[in-house]
Each structure stands twice: as structure tokens, then as C-alpha cells.
Amino acid sequence: MMPANVRGGQVISLVEVTGSIGGRVDIPKLADELGADVAVLLPILDAAEMLGLVRTEKGDVHLTEMGHRFQKTSKEKLKILKERVAAIEPFRTAVELASKGKQVTPSQVAEALAEMGLKWHYQPDINESLIRTLLIHWTIYAGLLRYDGKSGKFTRA
């Protein structure tokens, strides 16, 4: 599950900064380099690890081979993001539902995920809003889905 408050740009910054200081750094130093609090950094690290871009071990962050490729070119960034994001929830279910029907709403995604026991918040309206925000921030940039703010619906890109 992608942490609710992490955005793609934050993961990109983390990978770029880690790469610029040799591809291996300890967490407090990385927080300092990014000008971010460690508490803010940890969910971003989780997301980067989930995407296969970094590995954390004994308080150190290492760029993976994919992380090194990701850091180098914008073309690779989008390609890797598209592949990896599609494998993580709530994106996987949203893409699947949008492929089956012509369009999907965050509420339908939330419902399908709740059946699998996946929720980002216990209150349904907040859960749906967090899923909408995650879908907007990750799937449009990764080129997986399109979004129409007026109808609140996502379609396949």
C-alpha cells in the first residue's frame, strides 16, 4: 500500500539526492540534505523502497540498480514509474477497474479495496479522499490514468 501522504516528486527528490552523494547515505544525513524532518522522510523512504528504488539497511539508504537508472534520465523515470506504480495499491485496483469499465471513481476503488481489507482511513469519506489524492498524484504523472476533475472520474491513459 502506498503511504497516503507521499507524492511522486518527494520520491524523485530523495532518489536524486541519494544518487548525488554517492548512492549510499545514513538516514539523518539524508534528512539533513533534503531539509526534511526524519518523521517526514520515513514514509517517503517506504514509498521509494516499495517502488524498488532504494533499500534501507541498518539505518543506511542505498540506491538499488533500478534506483541508479531512475536517477539518470527522465525517460527512465517515467518508464520505471509506470511499471512499478501499476503494481502497488491503490493504483493496481484503479487501473484494473478503469480497464474493465470505461471509467472509475475513487469511491468504486475504495469499495473494491475495502473488500480486500485495504483502507487508508477508517472513515469512508476520508479514505475515499485519500485514495483520490493518491490516484491523482501518482497515476497521471506515471501515464497510467487520466482524470477529469469535473466528473471526478478516472479513465485509462
Binding site: G9, L14, A36, I136, I140, R146, Y147
Partner: protein, 261 residues
Amino acid sequence: MAEDQVQLASGTTIVTVDHVRLDYHKEREPLPVLADVSLTAARDELVAITGPSGCGKSTLLRIVAGLIKPTSGTVRVLDSEVKGPRDDISMVFQNFVLLPWRTAIENVLFGLGSRADLTEEERKAKAENALQITGLQGFESVYPGELSGGMKQRVGVARALATDPMVMLLDEPFSSLDDLTAERLRKEMYSLLINPQTSVQTVILVSHNVEEIIELADKVVVLSSRPAHVVGELKVDLPRPRNKKSDEFFEWVDRVYSLLS
């Protein structure tokens, strides 16, 4: 870039702020805000204005934009005196100033409202192009409330770019963003604005963040406390991209601080 824009050599003076003075009036007594400020901004130059908090740097930027009339002195873009807001000067604000009930593209189109010379299709094409330049392709139909702070500011920049301005004014554009987002946007801002894909020929940035200024500026203008006057001007000749960890970078930061203190 605007088709009718004049091609000017790099280094040509675009903006001239000439002995600008501004007084507010408090119970009929004049309260001087800007004492006597003169500066220039040239083609392909990013000029940063800094000074103590409350010294009037944002006020000066609003005078350059034509939003406030100075008590005396003039602002010129090339040979034309700025007497009010105009299409060849755009501004990006600290707090984005987006209309929450309009989507990203509708906010950019709103900025194009004054361009009576354009058809609806031309406006849409310009708005789409500006969103693409700022990395927001695909986010056209998203409302500001659904965007992150960094993306909202990108919409602000796209709105400012869409009118094909010659002069871009940035009023503390990164200070409402979290550090991580600000860092990323700062890295992109220079090449995003001073770029043949856009019509922008000169940029004036107001900021109180000295490291940010040394990262971005070609020239730094330091103002005194109120009533403000120019206490120093520095040409920053560090190569780009600038290494914020280098000794040279810190030497430049120190130079600005010594003028501020």
C-alpha cells in the same frame, strides 16, 4: 515565444527602475517606504532583490508590475514607462492565488482573459503549452484543492507564462512550500524561465532566503531596512548548476549576509 516579440541581444537592459520613491501617508504625514531605489534587469538575467523583513521588497516588485504607483521615479520596460498592469509583465505570488473553483487549465485561461487578440482555440493552446512547460501535462482538469503545494505553484507559473511576458516577477515563490518541494522546484525554475521555449527575457525574484538567491541569481540587489535604498549590488558569476555544498557558494552567501547586516 510570442511571434511579435523583438529579438534582443543577451545583456540588453530590459527593466529599469529609476530613482523610485514611495511614501505611504499616515494621518497626512508621509511615511517613506522606499527612499530611492534604482536597479536594472537585463536580457537572460535573473535579478534577486533581498533585504530585511518589511523593508519593502515585495512593494517594489508590485511597483515594477504596475500594481502600485510610485510617489516619484519611474519603471521602464525597454523604453516604455510602466503606468499600470500590462501583458508583457507577469507575476508569480507567494500564496499561488489560484481560483479554487476553476481547474488548472481554467486558472491559466483566466490569466489570458486580457488577451482580446486571441481566439478561444489560441488561448486554449497557449494554456496547454504553459502547463506542459511547467510539467503539468495531464493535470489540466484537476482542481487546485486536489494538487500539492508544488503543483499549485506550477499552475501559478503556467498562468504567468501563458500571456507571453517579457518580464517575469517572482514574489517569494518557494516560501509557502515544504523544503523538499521547494528544493525541487528551485532546481527547475531557472531553466524553466530562462529558456528559448518561453517569451521571458528577464526575471526579478524577491526573496529573503540567501541560499536560494545564490542558487538562482545572476545579480543580487540588497536593500536596507525601511525606508529602503540599495546598499549593494553583486554579480554572481558562479557556474551553473550551482553546488550548494561548495566553499565558493558559501563565500557568496557570506557576501550577501555582510551587506544585510
